[in-house]
C-alpha cells in the first residue's frame, strides 16, 4: 500500500471508534442535559443545582480533591526521588509501591472499610492498646471527620501510584549531566531538587496533576464503600439521579457540571505549569 494513505488507514479504526463512543455520546449528553422533551432549556440544571444535596456534594468533592491531591503530589515526589537514588532492591520497592495502581477504587474502599468499620482493625488495635473500651462506630454520622479522613486515606493510598509512575518515568528522562554539573558547583541535594528536578519535571507534573485532578472529581466507589449516603459527592449524585430517581436529564446535567469543573481545572493546571516552547528535554 502507498505510504501516503497507509497512516490514515492505520488511524482510521481509532478515529471512528472515538467518534462513535466518545464524541457522539458527548453530543448526546449535552443534548439531554439542555432539553426536557421540548426545545432548549436550562431546567435540568436549575433542578439539579437547587436540590439541597447539591451544595454539600459539590463542597465534599472539592474539599476532598483539595485535601488529597497535594498530599499525593508531595508523597509521589518523595517516593520518586527516594527510588531514584536507590541501588539495591529498587525493583521490588517499585513493585510494592505501584501495586495500588492495579486496585480498583471499589476494592480500595473495601480495604479501608476493613480497617475503619466498627469491628475493624483500627478498633481492634485501639482496644488492644486500651485507648477505647467499646469499639467505636467510626463510619457514622456522629464522626463526619473520621468518614472524611477514611475516604481521604483510601484515596491517597490507592491513587498515589499513578502519579509515582509518571514522575519516576519523568525523572528518568532528566539527563544526568545536569546533576553532575550542579554537584561540581556544590549545590546541596535540596537545591538540586528545586533547581533541576522540579523545573525539568514540569511536563510530567502536568500530566500527573491533570490525570489525578480529573480522577479526583470522579470519585465514586471509594465513597460508596466507606461513606455511603453519609458523604454525598457529585458522581454519587449523578448515579442516584440515573438509577434511584430515574431522571436521566438531571443526570446528564450533573455529568456536564462535573465535566465543566474538570475542564476548568485542566486549563488552570496547563496554564500554571506551562512548558516554554523549545524548553523540553
Amino acid at each position: 500500500m502507498n505510504a501516503r494513505i497507509l497512516p490514515y488507514v492505520l488511524i482510521l479504526p481509532v478515529t471512528l471508534f472515538l467518534c462513535l463512543f466518545f464524541l457522539y455520546p458527548f453530543v448526546l449528553v449535552s443534548k439531554q442535559a439542555f432539553s426536557t422533551g421540548a426545545g432548549f432549556t436550562l431546567d435540568n440544571f436549575r433542578e439539579v443545582v437547587s436540590y439541597w444535596k447539591f451544595p454539600i456534594s459539590m463542597q465534599n468533592t472539592l474539599l476532598l480533591a483539595a485535601a488529597v491531591v497535594p498530599v499525593q503530589l508531595a508523597l509521589a515526589l518523595l517516593m520518586a526521588t527516594m527510588v531514584n537514588k536507590m541501588q539495591k532492591g529498587r525493583d521490588i520497592v517499585l513493585y510494592i509501591w505501584t501495586i495500588p495502581l492495579g486496585i480498583s477504587d471499589l476494592a480500595a474502599g473495601i480495604i479501608w472499610l476493613a480497617i475503619f468499620e466498627q469491628s475493624g482493625f483500627l478498633n481492634s488495635m485501639m482496644s488492644g492498646l486500651g485507648i477505647v473500651d467499646q469499639p467505636v462506630n467510626f463510619l457514622s454520622y456522629q464522626h463526619p471527620g473520621v468518614v472524611f479522613l477514611a475516604i481521604a486515606l483510601a484515596e491517597i493510598w490507592r491513587a498515589t501510584a499513578i502519579m509515582l509512575v509518571i514522575l519516576v518515568a519523568g525523572i528518568g528522562l532528566i539527563p544526568k549531566e545536569y546533576y553532575e554539573a550542579a554537584e561540581v558547583f556544590g549545590a546541596s541535594p535540596w537545591k538540586r531538587f528545586t533547581r533541576i528536578t522540579l523545573p525539568m519535571l514540569r511536563p510530567s507534573l502536568q500530566t500527573a496533576l491533570v490525570l489525578r485532578v480529573i480522577l479526583a472529581f470522579e470519585i465514586f466507589a471509594v465513597v460508596a464503600a466507606l461513606g455511603g449516603t453519609l458523604f454525598p459527592v457529585l458522581m454519587g449524585e449523578t448515579y442516584a439521579y440515573q438509577f434511584d430517581l430515574l431522571n436521566s436529564g438531571a443526570a446528564a446535567a450533573m455529568a456536564l457540571i462535573i465535566l465543566g469543573i474538570s475542564i476548568a481545572f485542566t486549563l488552570v493546571i496547563l496554564r500554571v505549569l506551562r512548558v516554554p516552547k523549545g524548553a523540553t528535554i
Binding site: P7, F22, I99, D105, L106, W157, V165, A169, A224, A252
Partner: protein, 279 residues
C-alpha cells in the same frame, strides 16, 4: 583539631540520614502492604470471625468466607462477566489501538497533530460519564445489558492508553531494522510480522494486560450499563448496603488478586510506557 571533629560528625549524620532513608522506604512499603494484609486476614477467616470483635492479626485460614462468596447467588456469574468484558476490552483496544500507535511512530502526515489532540482529549474527560447517553443508544441498538456493550465503553477508556503505549513501544524499535528487511526482499507487511512483531510482542502483551485491568476495575460505567449481567464491581457496588461484611471482604479480595499479578507482570513496562506517553 577542627578537622577531626568535622570528620567525626560527617559519618554520623550520614549514618542517621541513611537510617532515616531506609526507615521511610520500609514505612512506605508497609503503608501499601498492611491494608492489603488486613483484607487478606478477613478473607481467610470464617464469617463469624469477620463479624466478631476484636479482630485477630493473623489469618485463621478458614475458607468459610470464600465459600460463602462463591455460593452467593449471582456472584460467580458476575465474576465470569467481569472476565469476559475485560478480555473483550483487551482484544479490542489492542486491535484498534496498536495500528494507530504504529502510524504515530513511523509516519509524518498532515493531521497527525489533530489526531494526537483527540487522543489526549479523551484523557482529560471523565469518561465513565459517557455511559449515561450510551445507555440510551444501547437500548436502541439492542446492546443494552450485554457484555459487548460494556466492553465498548471500557475500550474507550483503554484506547488512549493503548495508542500511547504502543506508540512508545514502536518508537523504541529502530526504523532501520524494518528498512533492512525491505532490502532483503520483505514487503512492508512481512517486515512487520517477521521483524517488528516478535520484538514488540512482550510490550504489546503488557499493554493488553493494562487494558484488562482498566476494564476489570471500572465501576461506574459497569453499574450504569448492566442490570441483569452485572460485572463483579457492579454487583458488589449494588449490594454494598445489604451484603454482610464477609461477602464484601471476600469480593474485594477477589478484585485485588488479579491486580497483584498483573502489576507484577507488567512492572518492567510501566515506566517505559509512561516515559514517552508523557510527551
Amino acid at each position: 583539631m577542627t578537622d577531626a571533629t568535622a570528620s567525626d560528625v560527617a559519618p554520623d549524620t550520614r549514618a542517621t540520614g541513611r537510617t532515616l532513608y531506609i526507615a521511610s522506604v520500609v514505612f512506605l512499603c508497609a503503608w501499601v502492604i498492611v491494608p492489603i494484609y488486613f483484607l487478606l486476614i478477613n478473607t481467610l477467616s470464617s464469617p463469624e470471625t469477620v463479624n466478631s470483635f476484636p479482630k485477630p492479626f493473623w489469618p485463621e485460614f478458614d475458607l468459610g468466607s470464600l465459600t460463602f462468596f462463591a455460593g452467593f447467588a449471582g456472584m460467580l456469574t458476575a465474576l465470569k462477566n467481569s472476565v469476559i468484558v475485560a478480555a473483550m476490552t483487551m482484544v479490542m483496544s489492542i486491535v484498534i489501538g496498536a495500528p494507530a500507535g504504529y502510524a504515530l511512530s513511523r509516519f509524518e502526515f498532515p493531521g497527525k497533530g489533530l489526531f494526537r489532540l483527540l487522543i489526549l482529549l479523551t484523557r482529560a474527560f471523565p469518561l465513565p460519564l459517557l455511559a449515561l447517553p450510551l445507555a440510551v443508544m444501547f437500548i436502541q441498538t439492542g446492546l443494552d445489558d450485554t457484555a459487548f456493550g460494556l466492553a465498548l465503553v471500557h475500550t474507550t477508556l483503554a484506547i488512549p492508553f493503548a495508542v500511547l503505549i504502543t506508540f512508545s513501544l514502536f518508537s523504541g524499535i529502530p526504523m532501520e531494522l524494518e528498512e533492512a528487511a525491505w532490502t532483503l526482499g520483505c514487503t512492508r507487511l512481512t517486515a512487520f510480522t517477521k521483524v517488528v512483531l516478535p520484538l514488540i510482542l512482550p510490550g504489546i502483551t503488557a499493554s493488553a494486560i493494562f487494558a484488562f485491568v482498566i476494564s476489570w476495575n471500572e465501576v461506574f460505567a459497569a453499574a450504569v450499563l448492566t442490570i441483569e449481567n452485572r460485572t463483579l464491581t457492579a454487583f458488589l457496588l449494588q449490594n454494598l448496603d445489604t451484603s454482610p461484611l464477609h461477602l464484601k471482604f471476600a469480593g474485594g479480595f477477589i478484585l485485588v488478586v488479579p491486580a497483584l499479578i498483573f502489576i507484577f507482570a507488567v512492572r518492567k513496562y510501566l515506566f517505559a510506557m509512561w516515559g514517552i506517553a508523557n510527551r
